[in-house]
């Protein structure tokens, strides 16, 4: 039960039930669509980038507790970040949720509540869908990205 509780922490439930920054953004200057064909989940990520800084970020779509909470937490963590920081943070996040290393992930801050995903390899794609979509948005990819 312990790793199940670690996966479904209160913070995760909170962000699943009341996702932050969960809306479309009319003034976005970057956006992309992500798709997890395994479960049919879809997410859109919207960005407002000025002078290399993410001024605003939001997402829309529906998914499981893990993907929704991850998208919500990601948007909180990305606001005000420099675009050049995104790649490094995603790498760290990815390493954390895949259990690629045991090192502490201090840079991730609140995102660390998703560390429990590493015990559930089938759910890694849920946790990373929004991140892949964020990267696609920054690259202005017009084709929806997929986790497959």
């Amino acid at each position: 039960m312990s790793d199940l509780r670690e996966l479904y922490q209160e913070v995760i439930f909170d962000h699943y039930r009341k996702p932050r920054n969960c809306h479309e953004m009319a003034c976005a200057n970057h956006h992309a669509e992500g798709h997890n064909p395994l479960c049919g989940d879809e997410v859109k990520v919207y960005l407002q980038v000025e002078d290399g800084v993410i001024r605003d970020v939001s997402f829309s779509g529906s998914g499981c507790a893990i993907s929704t909470a991850s998208a919500s937490l990601m948007t909180e963590a990305m606001k005000g970040r420099k675009v050049e920081e995104v790649e490094h943070l995603f790498q760290e996040f990815h390493q954390m949720v895949t259990g690629a290393d045991d090192a502490p992930h201090e840079d991730l801050g609140k995102l660390e509540v998703l560390a429990g995903v590493r015990e559930f390899p089938t759910r890694v794609k849920c946790a990373t869908l929004a991140w892949h979509t964020l990267q696609a948005a920054l690259k202005d990819q017009s084709q929806p990205i997929t986790t497959e």
Partner: protein, 416 residues
């Protein structure tokens, strides 16, 4: 719903059956496995595993070509498996039994070899709204190749085919009806006798997708009078990578080969190639010999237990599980057709099916979560996915209890 004369199986009988399946002794995260994903694939009895091992240890050789002893034995065993399939389906002849990779390949074969040469722009193929992708996409492909049009028989909110609508859709341009015998996403049993009667009255041949039905319902292709029947070995306790296309001999005879290669020819020269007779015309290349032999063993196993006995046991599980699950807070069963078998699809308020799947898996309970390769069915019900428990002969009421307890835990975690 229980038929007259049907008796509840003694629980000890199911325990005996369970012992035939070595994988059921596995544990998951230290807990006994509760395998309820039989709609995806079934576990294999020792008899099937032994048949494949015996083949590779004692018989392995290529079929239909060697003069040596082993080749003859391999050919005999392979053809004996075909005879077993013929008997199982009550087909008229072994010439009507084509070994393929699975249901998907069987349907593609009919789409390309039967439908494609006949279809003209504006012709129509009729499917239902509760098809698996494998009984949709091959028809879309052949429609794109020929200019034919796909028409869809709607289903009710309960998940039952609308026969009146079907009558309206069957027209002078309808060239083929392709419907599922048992819906993988809803568990609805299609009224196939009526559908076949209606289609034949309009001169339209019928393909039945038997991927789900084959392990749960008795299939007599001559009593049904269906024109094609497709199923996969792995959903009826047999190996993966082997399946069957049944086709009426006259129809198969009139069809060009699906693939070219060895074994499907009688003679080859650069000027002219003569095709082999049925069913070899459709079996190009070295077939899945071990798979066919394993499938034969699986059908023997099922026949020994009796599909009637198995069906009654599974009906009991479904009748036991339906009200039990309906009591779980926030749970809604998707698909309430009067005639159902083996499959319980459901959603839970505020819980994504993937989360249900993960939490149950933690207790060793394996279910399917997602769209079940039936996205149009999900769309019909305004869903992106469901959770699905699907039963097989070796499941027990105790496992249904474990499922219900697991789902209550899901409800507690998410609905606090």
């Amino acid at each position: 719903m229980r038929m007259d004369g049907e008796r509840l199986l003694h629980p000890a009988a199911v325990d005996d059956w369970r012992r035939d399946f070595p994988l059921l002794r596995e544990t998951v995260r230290g807990k006994p496995l509760v395998y309820l994903d039989n709609g995806a694939t079934t576990q294999k009895p020792q008899a099937v595993i032994d048949a494949e091992v015996r083949y590779y240890q004692h018989v392995n050789a290529n079929v239909h070509r060697g003069v040596h002893h082993l080749s003859q034995r391999a050919t005999d065993d392979y053809e004996a498996a075909r005879a077993t399939v013929r008997t199982f389906l009550n087909a008229a002849s072994e010439r009507e039994i084509v070994f393929v990779r699975g249901t998907t390949e069987a349907i593609n074969l009919v789409a390309q070899s039967h439908a494609r040469p006949r279809l003209r722009p504006g012709d129509e193929i009729l499917v239902s709204a509760m098809e698996h992708h494998s009984n949709i996409v091959p028809w879309q492909m052949v429609c794109a190749q020929t200019g034919a049009v796909l028409k869809v028989i709607p289903i009710s909110d309960a998940g039952e085919l609308d026969l009146d609508a079907c009558a309206g859709l069957l027209g002078v341009r309808t060239r083929l009806m392709a419907v599922t015998h048992l819906s993988n996403a809803l568990g609805s049993i299609a009224p196939v006798e009526k559908l076949i009667g209606m289609a034949h009255a309009a001169g339209v041949p019928v393909l039945l997708d038997g991927a789900q039905a084959i392990a749960h319902l008795q299939v007599d292709v001559r009593a049904l009078d269906c024109d094609f029947y497709a199923f996969s070995g792995h959903k009826i306790y047999g190996p993966t990578g082997i399946g069957v296309l049944y086709g009426k001999e006259a129809l198969l005879e009139a069809m060009p080969p699906y693939q070219g290669g060895g074994d499907m020819i009688r003679s080859v020269s650069f000027e002219k190639t003569e095709y082999n007779e049925l069913p070899y015309k459709f079996e190009a290349g070295t077939p899945n010999i071990a798979g066919a032999i394993g499938l034969g063993a699986a059908l023997d196993y099922v026949s020994e237990l009796g599909l009637e006995t198995i069906g009654a046991h599974e009906r009991d599980l479904l009748e036991y599980a339906t009200p039990l699950l309906a009591e779980v807070p926030g749970l809604r069963i998707v698909g309430s057709a009067a005639d159902k078998a083996s499959i319980l699809s459901f959603t839970m308020t505020g819980v994504h099916p993937h989360d249900i799947g993960t939490i149950l898996d933690h207790d060793g309970i394996a279910i399917r979560a997602g769209h079940h390769c039936a996205m149009p069915v999900m769309k019909r019900f305004g869903l992106t996915g469901t959770a699905r428990a699907s039963f097989a002969l070796y499941n027990t009421r105790a496992e249904v209890d474990a499922l219900a307890a697991g789902l209550r835990k899901v409800a507690e975690m998410f609905q606090r």
